[in-house]
């Protein structure tokens, strides 16, 4: 199985054995599985010519042989509609979908199948680097097993190739869970991550952005086009959007808030008055509260329509007519309650809560102490203001090195 680096730069001979130039690149379509080489690029005195695969007899490390005598000038300058393996992919960064990380392409493995030369996989090993350096013997001495390639069907070349040239940019990356997309983005510079987020659907982008560290989020947001950034912020829960905006420079934050939908901007604005790392700053204020005088069936209907996020649906906080926190109802309590019973009859009154000014540590401590997934936040008059979920304080609950990390030189 030849590697791209062993093919490029070798002489190209026509059917008469006459040298017509040097192999400069291989072109493949972007959308075929294990794409076959569709054309080769032969360089002759600085000019490049694309020769269709049909005219190629073989491409091997010894050289490239053509099927017939060739008048090079008949073949045009290659266009940009195909992927250039050498120019576009070699040495660039792509995503290893299976390993969930960014990798640099040290070499590309090709395999001859039924007269085609097909792309098999990507080599990101040190052995690949050594091969490029002409020091393969070192790898041979040190090697214990065959070098492992990343299967071509398990990579996303989106970060390397200009997105207008791909039919579905990031089509493999976007199918990963948001946390995994976040992990991949963490390995990118803010500008690179911004390019990915702009290409993804807003909801996926919002979920992925939420997975990044605060500083990285701010930098990525700064690197995105303002309109795109605002669209993504619109899709985030208000508390997360507020967190992100809190780290962005004032002027830019104002600009983004003006571009966001008025409803979301207002919500975010109301959260930004609270200090970061207090219950007020952490909470989601757009929550589903239940009046104590409601009946179970109607609440269930309302809940179905409101469709709160998954980590906020387990607890329904019950308030009186002036908005004061009265009790809590678990989703289970609601479902098993007789349809026409009053909420006040199924709720539990001894509900733990935190106040707006309580510190993040205090919030985390109470969540852990009472074994809760979420806790309500109230003001000094015990009016319900929002809720904090365990996700909002995960950095205090889980070890630091489990969390997504930015790829930065410092801090």
């Amino acid at each position: 199985m030849p590697f791209l680096s062993q093919l490029l730069g070798r002489p190209a001979l026509d059917a008469d054995g006459k040298s017509i130039g040097v192999l400069r690149d291989l072109l493949v379509p972007s959308d075929a599985p294990y794409p076959p080489v569709a054309a080769i690029v032969v360089g002759d005195h600085g000019r490049l010519h694309a020769i269709p695969w049909a005219n190629v007899a073989s491409v091997t490390p010894r050289g490239t042989a053509l099927r017939s005598p060739i008048a090079l000038e008949r073949y045009p300058q290659p266009g940009d509609d195909l992927i250039w393996l050498g120019r576009d992919l070699l040495d660039k960064q792509i995503v290893d979908i299976h390993g969930v990380k960014l990798v640099r392409v040290n070499d590309i493995a090709l395999t001859p199948i039924n007269g085609d030369l097909r792309l098999a996989g990507v080599d990101n090993t040190v052995a690949g680097l050594l091969r490029r350096l002409g020091l393969e013997w070192i790898a041979r001495i040190a090697r214990k097993e065959r070098p492992r390639l990343i299967d071509w069907e398990e990579v996303d070349i989106g970060p390397a190739v200009d997105e207008v040239r791909l039919k579905n940019p990031f089509d493999r990356l976007r199918r990963l869970p948001p946390a995994d997309i976040g992990a991949v983005l963490g390995g990118m510079s803010p500008a690179e991550a911004a390019d990915v987020l702009e290409a993804l659907p807003d909801e996926i982008a919002a979920d992925a952005l939420a997975e990044l560290s605060e500083e990285h989020q701010a930098a990525v947001l700064a690197a995105m086009e303002p309109e795109e950034a605002a669209d993504v912020l619109d899709q985030m829960p208000p508390d997360e959007a507020a967190d992100v905006l809190g780290d962005v420079e004032l002027e830019r934050a104002g600009e983004l808030m003006r571009l966001m939908t008025p409803r979301q901007a207002l919500e975010v604005q109301s959260l930004l008055i609270y200090e970061e790392d207090t219950a007020g700053g952490l909470m989601n204020s757009r929550i589903f509260a239940v009046q104590e005088t409601e009946i179970a069936a109607r609440v269930l209907d309302d809940l179905r329509r409101a469709a709160p996020p998954e980590d906020e649906i387990y607890y329904l906080y019950v308030v009186d007519s002036s908005g004061r926190l009265r009790g809590v109802l678990s989703l289970r309590d609601l479902v098993v309650a007789p349809p026409d019973s009053l909420i006040v009859d199924s709720m539990r009154e001894d509900v733990p809560f935190v106040e707006l000014d309580d510190s993040k540590e205090e919030v985390a401590r109470k969540l852990i102490h009472y074994n809760l997934l979420a806790i309500p936040v109230v003001d000094e008059e015990r009016r319900l203001k929002g809720m904090v979920t365990v996700n909002d304080v995960i950095d205090l609950v889980a070890p630091r090195h489990w969390q997504n990390r930015p790829r930065r030189m410092t801090g």
Partner: protein
């Protein structure tokens, strides 16, 4: 409807405690206001005046008085031109210099360029530790205690992810260097002489002069700087939109580095050179600050040296490890646990170890170790500059931000001049070694 929502946003923003700038202002109130407005360019400029810089400029003043002042002016302008290129490449491509070199030139040239970077940076790291050792000698503490301690401290701080905070303290500490500006005035130099020497080149075709000249260029413009600056721009997410502001930051940073360099030379020229005092040891060089600090001069110098040494001893290995891992695709976050980024921490720790061990060789001449990397850096610099210029003139990479023909010409002239000085220096050095010219 939407207007209703829009109106309140202006004013209430000011009341929001959490919005970035406000919070960012809260810290400087406790520390120092300039940190808030400091961008990557200013940061790089400050780190530029590290122990090798302080030594290089001091020795220039000690041995040749004001004769090398013109070189500082020229080198500062050259620094601004080159740093602008690095910052622009960062803002336009969103990639570090090592990565760009890899993507454009392939594995071989990258391996060569990064080997050059590694050698230059290893030498500079040694000089940072030499600065720490020199400072510790002035304070009468054995370097065998302080140097390993400093290395351990830096390693711990970086591995534990608290480097950012420590860096802020060290950057404020770097303000000590400004004591040279005050001292220069107190020393009462002949300002007419200073002004004349700043614009009229004074040449001596001797090995010591050329050594100091190339050392001066090599400490003002360094390979690591370009990597560090470009990565800082990239990591902040600064793009084409912010670039006009960033350019000002870069020029301001270069100017700050140049101003300190200028006054170090004026100070040492007006004190040590004027009084024909020797400068054979670190303590001797520190005596230049006597007009300001009196008997405390050497200690003030030691503080500047220690601070700059710690800062440089962290920045140099970090930049090196970061650039190499980026170019070759190895994990390189300092927030990663050690075992997940073995190459990154291996390079980082390895450079700290090299610095520590070399400085602690019994009888190691600290002043020489502080100065030598300037010469190494000066000679290796053209390799990096040529690659940078090839990148920044590539329309494929830079798009509309590609250098103008005029800008390109100026940058090539700067690079060419540095190469000429390097070659002349190498020739003279060889002739000198053969005993053909008198030192």
């Amino acid at each position: 409807m939407s207007n209703l929502f829009r109106r309140p946003l202006g004013a209430p923003l000011a009341g929001m405690k959490r919005l970035g700038l406000l919070r960012r202002w809260a810290l400087p109130l406790r520390l120092a206001p300039f940190l808030a407005v400091m961008g990557p360019g200013m940061l790089t400029g400050i780190v530029d005046d590290d122990p090798s810089g302080i030594t290089g400029y001091s020795l220039a003043g000690v041995h040749f008085g004001y004769d090398l002042l013109w070189a500082v002016v020229v080198a500062t302008v050259a620094l601004a031109i080159i740093a602008e290129i690095a910052a622009r490449m960062g803002a336009v491509t969103g990639k570090g210099l090592g990565e760009l070199i890899r993507e454009r030139f392939g594995v071989r040239i990258t391996a060569f360029a990064l080997l050059v970077l590694f050698i230059a940076n290893a030498a500079t790291t040694v000089s940072e530790f030499a600065g720490i050792a020199g400072a510790s000698e002035i304070f009468g503490v054995s370097p065998y205690i302080t140097v390993p301690l400093a290395a351990l401290l830096i390693f711990t701080v970086v591995v534990r992810g608290t480097y950012r905070r420590v860096e802020k303290v060290l950057l404020i500490g770097a303000l000590v260097s400004f004591s040279y500006v005050i001292t220069a005035f107190l020393a009462g130099p002949d300002w007419g002489d200073v002004a004349r020497s700043s614009v009229v080149p004074q040449f001596h075709l001797t090995l010591p002069y050329l050594t100091l000249l190339i050392g001066l260029i090599g400490t003002t413009i360094t390979p690591w700087q370009q990597f560090y600056l470009q990565s800082s721009v990239v990591d902040k997410g600064l793009g084409e939109r912010e670039y006009p502001m960033e350019r000002i930051d870069v020029y301001a940073g270069s100017a700050a580095a140049g101003i300190i360099a200028f006054f170090i030379i004026v100070t040492t020229a007006a004190t040590l050179h004027a009084n024909a005092q020797p400068a054979d040891t670190v303590t001797d060089v520190g005596k230049a600050l006597e007009p300001l600090a009196g008997d405390f001069a050497a200690k003030l110098f030691a503080i500047a040296l220690l601070n700059a040494g710690l800062l440089g001893a962290a920045v140099l290995p970090l930049t090196t490890a970061y650039a190499i891992c980026g170019a070759f695709g190895w994990e390189r976050s300092i927030n990663a646990p050690l075992r997940e980024a073995p190459v990154f921490f291996g390079l980082f720790g390895g450079l700290l170890l090299i610095g520590t061990v070399v400085v602690l060789i019994p009888g190691a001449p600290l002043l020489v170790l502080m100065f030598l990397p300037n010469v190494v850096g000066g000679i290796l610099l053209p390799v990096i500059l040529i690659l940078m210029l090839k990148l920044v003139t590539d329309r494929h990479i830079m798009g509309d931000w590609v250098s103008t023909p005029k800008g390109t010409l100026i940058a090539w002239l700067v690079t060419g001049a540095i190469i000429v000085v390097s070659v002349v220096y190498a020739v003279i050095a060889v002739l000198d070694a053969l005993g053909l010219v008198g030192g």
